[in-house]
């Protein structure tokens, strides 16, 4: 099981060819209170870098991009019912979608945890 991170502050954790996707703690802290989440229909195909979900804070709407190409196999209805879970536990209960990856090798280009921590530190 490995976790990778995008420059757009999504995380993706793989278990075989299934991957769980969410937003990072840095992302939720920058957004502030999450008040609304819109998730894709299971079965939808998403492209790497394409829109996978929408997250809205008290201030603004933001897109959540797919870190890799694949098919949505599950979505987290719990964050639709209680969007604050995204703030409280972004890497756990606050996950967004599960994907069946088209090509797990796509993740090789993403950052590991240490590289992402350096990336965030440089953002100030």
């Amino acid at each position: 099981m490995t976790v990778r991170f995008t420059r757009d502050h999504e995380w993706i954790r793989t278990e075989g060819d299934i991957a769980v996707v969410g937003i990072t703690d840095y992302a939720q802290s920058q957004l502030g209170d999450v008040v609304y989440v819109e998730l894709p229909e299971p079965g939808r195909k998403v492209e790497r870098g394409g829109e996978a979900a929408v997250v809205e804070s008290a201030k603004a709407a933001s897109e959540v991009y797919a870190p890799a190409t694949g098919e949505v196999v599950a979505v987290n209805e719990a964050i639709v019912a209680d969007p604050a879970k995204v703030n409280a536990d972004p890497m756990g209960e606050g996950w967004f979608v599960k994907l069946r990856l088209a090509d797990p090798a796509e993740l090789d280009g993403l950052m590991d945890e240490a590289a992402y921590a350096r990336f965030v530190a440089e953002l100030g």
């Binding site: 995008t6 757009d8 502050h9 999504e10 937003i23 990072t24 992302a27 920058q30 957004l31 502030g32 209170d33 008040v35 609304y36 819109e38 929408v54 997250v55 809205e56 804070s57 008290a58 201030k59 603004a60 709407a61 933001s62 897109e63 959540v64 991009y65 639709v80």
Partner: protein, 372 residues
């Protein structure tokens, strides 16, 4: 995720260090670096203000003094409010108008000794000052170094009474001089949240001491511009540059109540012909409150459709209301669609989503009523 940020040289208010020390996230707003939220977060800050008391730094707003006994009559040439009837120490909300009856700015006017003091929007203050200096034949003095604090919420009066007992009983929309924490202040019972509360004008050099004294009270938390926006939206109050601007007239904006009876009879304000015609005939469009049926917020710029799917208007302010616990919006629709209960759709991310017109305000105002 798309997270945006921008950096440009910005002005700071006298409370800048206080905001930073308290962990505020500072953002550019109207040329100032302002706190959008503290670590508390917008939702908690909003709910705290409705439950207890919140302290806002609104020092970016412009204070302008018009000097002389003739200031009321002179300013009436630029606004539709009845200022001649304004008693000493009383305050009125009014509008600077252009010749077409469009709104140049909205402002508060208070009668003080030997003149009037105006509080105008931060983004408009330089333009308003130039407009007033050009159009008025009297001394127009910018007080842009003055600070302005707002203490808002149901416990604001009890908190302020500990510092200045006399202010707790002043009527809504009135103002008095008072000393707070040893500093000379000008305190009005007014605000932008729909709650009881006060606005405190004072020298910039004194602002931090007064703010710290108020924040030391257990009921008071600092509140950022994020919650200021959600509070005013729930209260149905207009935000200049969004819900009203130079292309909107007071009648369609639902602000005809600001046009004094004498002014309606006499005219004599910019755009009077157009505004009096809109009053007589009814405006073509109206500002309304809108509640989406679902949970998706509709932001500023969202297209509004009628029940048949035809274009009907645009959202001018929209988001999530923490006290409502759901999304809310204001916008302009054709006058025939303005009645509460009218079915509409809001086009969010290309999908029309059902919504309905609702009465304003979304959350009932709780302004102070003096004992009879």
């Amino acid at each position: 995720m798309s997270l945006t940020d921008s950096t440009a040289p910005l002005r700071q208010t006298p409370l800048h260090a206080l905001h930073v020390a308290r962990g505020a996230r500072m953002v550019p707003f109207a040329g100032y670096e302002m706190p959008v939220q503290y670590p508390t977060g917008i939702v908690a800050e909003h709910l705290h203000t409705r439950a207890k008391a919140g302290l806002f730094d609104v020092s970016h707003m412009g204070q302008i003094r018009l000097v002389g006994a003739a200031a009321d009559r002179a300013l009436e040439a630029l606004v539709p409010g009845d200022l001649q009837s304004l008693a000493p120490g009383r305050m009125r909300y009014t509008l600077l108008l252009n010749e077409a009856g469009g709104i140049i700015d909205d402002l508060m006017v208070t009668r003080v000794e030997d003149g009037l003091v105006l509080v105008v929007n931060a983004a408009c203050k330089e333009g308003d000052l130039a407009h007033l200096q050009r159009r008025l034949d009297l001394a127009v003095e910018p007080l842009f170094d003055r600070a302005l604090l707002a203490l808002q919420g149901p416990l604001a009066a009890a908190v302020l009474a500990r510092f200045a007992p006399a202010v707790a009983g002043i009527p809504f929309m009135s103002a008095v001089a008072a000393e707070i924490a040893g500093k000379s202040c000008w305190v009005s019972r007014s605000g932008y949240t729909g709650e009881d509360g006060f606005e405190i004008a004072l020298a910039g050099a004194d602002a931090a001491a007064v703010a710290e004294a108020l924040l030391a009270e257990p009921e008071v938390l600092p509140i950022g511009l994020g919650a200021r926006d959600t509070l005013r939206l729930e209260a149905g109050l207009c935000l200049y540059g969004h819900d009203i601007d130079a292309t909107t007239n007071p009648v369609e904006a639902g602000l005809a109540w600001t046009i004094g009876r004498r002014r309606r009879a006499e005219g004599g304000f910019p755009g009077a012909a157009a505004i009096l015609a809109a009053l007589a005939e009814g405006p073509r469009r109206r500002r309304v409150g809108i509640r989406p049926d679902g949970r998706a917020p509709a932001r500023e710029g969202t297209a509004i459709l009628d029940a048949a799917g035809n274009p009907a208007g645009t959202v001018t302010s929209g988001g999530f209301g923490p006290t409502l616990g759901g999304p809310l919006a204001m916008g302009y629709v054709a006058a025939a669609l303005a009645a509460p209960g009218t079915r509409l759709a809001l086009v969010v991310r290309d999908v029309p989503r059902p919504a309905a017109v609702v009465p304003l305000p979304f959350v009932p105002a709780r302004y102070y009523r003096s004992p009879a």
